[in-house]
């Protein structure tokens, strides 16, 4: 539950961050920002004592200045998702880079930016901007998302009215050591429409992002996100989504490296027969802290949700999973599944999990599972007895462990891209 009264220090911290709020904007945006401001002040910024921050220290995400991080050095050979030939929209340190971007024209998709739409008095995004974020504040409070809604000056506004002929890629790059990025994106998928959004990044020393998606009845939204590799940025990324009747949302995130990543998701299945699949693979070696905090809320009957989260951790890396399947009384015939697993490759790593079920309807089938452990020694021996060297056998088993999450990517081209990156990461970090 959201705290009714924030502790004074948490409220003061929120007030000081809010001092940077952008002025002006059309009536719709001012109202949304003001409401977010009130939400945040009621909660305060997160602290270690908050239930959903017990495993992740938010200090680097709440501090006044972004902790410095050098821009990433290495990059995997190919530009992310190049094979899918997406329409590329590039943000460098949170600033739109028109020169590096493709012309924002795509049949079936109206592409705008928040900064452009802000001064207008009326805009379709009015019904969406901050709205799902506000609903997503319970049962798990998400103060950093409210902070973003109050402060973000730019982001993409996509209105999808047909089947987008190619994916849209949100490409983020980092140039400055201290860039503090805050983008807020809104996507409306009209009934029956379909879009694939590809994200790469993180693209800042610190990123506090919100993506709000409304998938209309029968619509489809695919989301594949790549965080990393070899970057020093801190990330708090939020996905807020509403899924309409018979609509589908499928989201996958690969996180490779990074000192602190908090991926939050709130998805509400609001129409009968909807489907939401959320998956993530996280790979960390050394100074790595990765947190998935996910709520799947079943509001309408007959919906299916799936959460598949896998983490591979070594040399003191830490993984956190906090996931909840929340089934309201009217959401009969719910099918909810959740699995969170960690593979610890050495003694120093750790996995902390809180996989919750909160269920108020009786005709449901919900389950969750969680396992933590090392590589299965019997499988390792079996592979070696067939002549596969130890390092290769371990790499194979790591990839096998991640396979269930990667299998959630429907598009084979994108899945192949992700598999290649996984394989490369495992190869770089084996032994």
């Amino acid at each position: 539950m959201a705290r009714p009264d924030a502790r004074p220090d948490a409220r003061h911290a929120a007030e000081s961050r809010l001092a940077a709020a952008p002025a002006g904007g059309g009536a719709w945006l001012r109202a949304a920002r003001e409401a977010a401001r009130e939400r945040l002040l009621a909660m305060g910024l997160p602290g270690r004592r908050d239930e959903y921050w017990r495993y992740t220290d938010p200090a680097d995400l709440t501090s006044a200045e972004a902790p410095a991080a050098a821009p990433p050095r290495a990059a995997d050979g190919a530009e992310p998702f190049a094979a899918a030939e997406p329409l590329r929209l590039v943000f460098v340190d949170g600033l739109f880079d028109p020169a590096a971007s493709d012309p924002p024209e795509l049949a079936g998709v109206q592409i705008e930016r928040l900064a452009e739409a802000a001064p207008r008095d009326l805009h379709w995004a009015r019904d969406l901007f901050g709205a799902i974020e506000a609903r997503g504040q319970t049962p798990v409070p998400r103060p950093l998302a409210a902070l973003n809604t109050a402060l973000a000056a730019d982001g993409l506004l996509l209105r999808v009215s047909g089947r987008a002929e190619r994916p849209v890629a949100l490409v983020r790059r980092q140039a400055a050591e201290g860039s503090d990025v805050m983008l807020h994106h809104c996507i409306r998928i009209e009934p029956g429409a379909e879009l694939t959004l590809l994200e790469s990044g993180p693209g800042g020393a610190r990123t506090t992002d919100v993506l709000e998606v409304d998938v209309g009845d029968g619509g489809r939204f695919h989301h594949v996100r790549l965080q990393g590799r070899d970057h020093g940025g801190r990330v708090a990324a939020h996905l807020f989504a509403r899924v309409g009747a018979a609509a589908q949302l499928r989201a996958f995130t690969l996180t490779a490296d990074g000192p602190l990543t908090r991926n939050e998701a709130y998805v509400e299945l609001a129409g009968a027969g909807g489907l939401a699949h959320l998956a993530g693979a996280a790979l960390g070696d050394g100074a790595f802290h990765h947190d998935d905090t996910v709520v799947l809320r079943h509001i309408a009957p007959g919906c299916e949700s799936r959460q598949v989260f896998k983490k591979v951790l070594k040399n003191g890396a830490a993984g956190v999973f906090q996931g909840k399947i929340h089934v309201l009384a009217q959401a009969q015939k719910t099918d909810g599944y959740q699995i969170a697993q960690a593979l610890l490759l050495d003694e120093a790593s750790q996995f902390l999990a809180k996989p919750e079920l909160e269920i108020y309807a009786d005709d449901v089938k919900c389950s969750h599972g969680s396992t933590v452990g090392a590589i299965d020694p019997v499988a390792l021996y079996y592979l070696r007895s067939r002549g596969v060297p130890r390092a290769r056998a371990e790499a194979l088993l790591v990839q096998a462990f991640l396979a269930e999450a990667v299998d959630e990517i429907a598009d084979p081209t994108l899945a192949e891209d992700i598999r290649a990156r996984l394989e490369a990461w495992v190869a770089r970090h084996s032994g």
Partner: protein, 251 residues
């Protein structure tokens, strides 16, 4: 080819002695059967030869073509030509059967300084071998042994053997849990691999597998030792009289 001399082995955990001086010499082209009652150490012998953790060799040696098996990692033993068909093949969710086989084949070839097999050649090779064992494409697509029936797992072991073409094959209770038809398939697969350069050690509790895979030499193992060695007629003796008679005679 395989030379085992005075092999003594105990459990790492607790130090219980299991093998108490095993001697065995298998030459190329020979099929040896090792029979014996439960708990006699037959499976332990196969695990120790293939390098499974949990056992300590306290005395003795085992060599394959003169190379010290016991000093090698499991994968080195495989590359050297040793193959164990497991009594309980391991399930590995997430690893495709084809990926597994190809990785194993190429790793062994690489270790031996041979060129890797191309994807196309590999596919052709596996399809041909699989057909003989009645393994269909669907089974090849599935993860290693996951959702396989007992018979399918054993056939999959023989398929691996056929693809990897080892010098020395150890079959650990390959007949257990098989019906007659499945046993015939497995035996045909093994017989197809018999040639002058390849040795076999067939570990079994019952004689019936030996009707299909005719051994040259039969050993009876009891309490960690080979207590009797003879021709195929020894297996028939076990079949009609059980182990009790032989063991009493030895004791």
């Amino acid at each position: 080819m395989l030379e085992i001399r005075n092999l003594h082995v105990e459990l790492e955990d607790g130090g219980t002695p299991i093998l108490k001086g095993v001697n065995l010499a298998v030459k190329g082209g020979e099929v040896h059967a090792i029979m014996g009652p439960n708990g006699s150490g037959k499976s332990t012998l196969s695990y120790v030869l293939s390098g499974r953790d949990g056992y300590v060799v306290t005395q003795g040696s085992a060599t394959l073509d003169g190379a010290d098996l016991l000093a090698m990692a499991p994968e080195e033993r495989a590359a050297a030509g040793l193959f164990l068909a497991f009594q309980y093949p391991v399930e590995i969710p997430g690893v495709g059967n084809m990926t597994f086989l190809r990785t194993a084949l190429n790793a062994q070839r690489k270790a031996r300084g041979e060129a890797e097999v191309s994807a196309a050649d590999f596919l052709k090779l596996v399809r041909a071998k699989a057909k003989a064992l009645a393994i269909d494409a669907e089974m090849l697509r599935r993860p290693v042994n996951v959702g396989f029936s007992g018979g399918e797992k054993k056939r999959n072991e023989i398929l691996q053997m056929a693809v990897l073409e080892p010098k020395l094959c150890i079959l650990d209770e390959t007949d257990s849990g098989l019906d007659v038809d499945a046993m015939k398939l497995v035996a045909d697969g093994v017989n197809a691999l018999r040639d002058a350069g390849r040795g076999f050690v067939v570990i079994t509790h019952y004689q019936r597998l030996l009707d299909h895979i005719r051994p040259d030499i039969v050993h009876i193992m009891a309490d960690g030792r080979i207590v009797r060695t003879g021709g195929p007629e020894l297996a028939l003796e076990v079949e009609s009289n059980g182990y009790a008679g032989i063991l009493a005679e030895v004791a």
